[in-house]
Amino acid sequence: MSKALEIKGLRKTYGNGFEALKGIDLDVNEGDFFALLGPNGAGKSTTIGIICSLVKKTSGEVRVFGKSIDDDLANAKKDIGVVPQEFNFSSFETVWDIVVNQAGYYGLSRSLAAERAEAYLRQLDLWDKRKVASRMLSGGMKRRLMIARALVHEPRLLILDEPTAGVDIELRRSMWTFLADINRRGTTIILTTHYLEEAESLCRNIAIIDSGEIAENTNMKALLKQLHREVFILDSTACLPEALSLPGYAVERVDDHMLEVALEKGGSLNEVFRLLSEQGIEISSMRNKANRLEELFVSLLAKK
């Protein structure tokens, strides 16, 4: 499978001496939906900045669809669309002008730019706002505007740096659907996010970066398999007994109608339900205590 992105030995030391990247290696396959996770200051935005040539690397190699950013930067750039973390468009320009001008910067004719701008603004529910100055948009609309702008030249690699930060749940989910659809149509996507649920539901492969180094780089299924223990929250229909025990399981009574049960890898939920049923406890609903990826994320970073 061809590579959308190849990073080898990438280092970045800022002018103040801060070493943001300590020689990372990273590959992203064409067509992938890839998560790049890490705590604040881990080096995610620096990595993205270098790929998009907004940040100068200290050393190392970056190739986008085989094109080196050292030797063939202009062609590498043509394949990239980027949605940055911070809003970075003119607050005085209209939505339409921002998207159409961006197409012009990539050499798209005015007619093609207009055609694409209309298509993406409609898909992202911004068509009615096309004549509005960008400063008048809500936070969610501004995020969608940056996505439309990044897509207007139809890049093969779309990089999204926390695209759903500060976006309400409903809109976040509609953006997930949109991004999943873009990915299905062939665009490789790299996503950084603090919503680990987002990465778990969208991405097939994942890298976790911490203190400028890759802490983990694998596929999502393999990563989640590393979970040894999951905690479930169970809601009972009737009041729970004060002394509650399930032989072989760590159980905690949270309140009169709620308990937490820890299940080791390979454990059976059926067994838990059988034991509860023997005690006359009927369960009405159940959920994970924490996001599974979040647990892994915390444990991986704690190991370092």
Partner: protein, 257 residues
């Protein structure tokens, strides 16, 4: 990018720049029109009538070329410095930096925006001056060439200023504390022949003197300085400014971390 794609990108920047200064015409076109009209009224009509002739021309005829050139210089410079710094300040310069445009496309896009505003303001001021005096342009080629070269040179200078500016104070320092005083002392309002020898020699170190006089030569046919020197100086400064702008873009100075 192909040459055709670079051309589209270049036109996109120029169109955006022109639309920007037309959109905010109350800040970009109206103030120089009012200021220069006041100069014409006060220096040309009210005070000028008491001064008499200068170099064989009425005082109004004498000051008009310098005032037109002052408007061109200030507006070409201000357009690029404020637009490019604004893009840096609001971070939408990143739209350009992530694109595959060449550095030349970016630079000349902004420079042509500055030239367009400089020339438009120059035209407005020229038309206003016709309410006060007649303009019989003596050397049309010299007039057009020097005004084009000057507006390109100061647009490039504005670009350099914008790259290094950290705040809006840095944007206004050069026009207020360098360009305006040098233009005032560059023979807009007087001929250096009127000055004592020492101050005339000092004035000859002022590059604005050559620019103003070259333009005055084009319009009136008279100059205090050698026109060839004026063209050579503007040419050399333009090439140096262009080379430095390209260096700044290539190295990413103050633009890429």
């Amino acid at each position: 990018m192909t040459a055709a794609e670079q051309w589209i990108a270049f036109v996109t920047i120029v169109r955006k720049e022109v639309r920007r200064f037309l959109r905010i015409w109350m800040q970009t076109l109206l103030p120089p029109a009012i200021t220069m009209s006041l100069y014409f009224v006060i220096f040309g009509t009210l005070i000028g009538s008491r001064i008499g002739t200068m170099g064989g021309f009425t005082y109004m005829e004498f000051v008009v070329p310098g005032l037109i050139m002052m408007a061109v210089i200030t507006n070409a410079y201000s357009n690029v410095v404020s637009s490019f710094f604004g893009a840096k300040f609001q971070r939408f310069v990143e739209e350009i930096l992530v694109s595959p445009m060449s550095n030349n496309t970016v630079l000349w896009g902004f420079v042509l925006g500055g030239v367009a505003r400089g020339l438009l303001v120059g035209l407005i001021v020229t038309l206003l001056s016709l309410f006060f005096t007649d303009l019989n342009i003596q050397h049309i080629g010299v007039t057009i060439t020097i005004v084009l070269m000057t507006s390109v040179m100061f647009s490039l200078a504005g670009f350099i200023n914008a790259v290094f500016a950290n705040n809006f104070d840095d944007v206004s320092i050069v026009p207020v504390f360098v360009l305006t005083p040098l233009t005032y002392l560059g023979g807009v309002f007087y001929s250096i022949d009127m000055l004592p020898e020492f101050w005339a020699d000092v004035s000859r170190l002022n590059p604005m003197l050559y620019i103003v006089n070259a333009f005055r030569y084009g319009v009136l046919g008279v100059s205090d300085v050698n026109i060839g020197v004026a063209f050579a100086m503007v040419g050399v400064f333009t090439v140096l400014a262009y080379a430095y702008c390209m260096y700044l873009l290539r190295s990413g100075t103050r633009l890429r971390q």
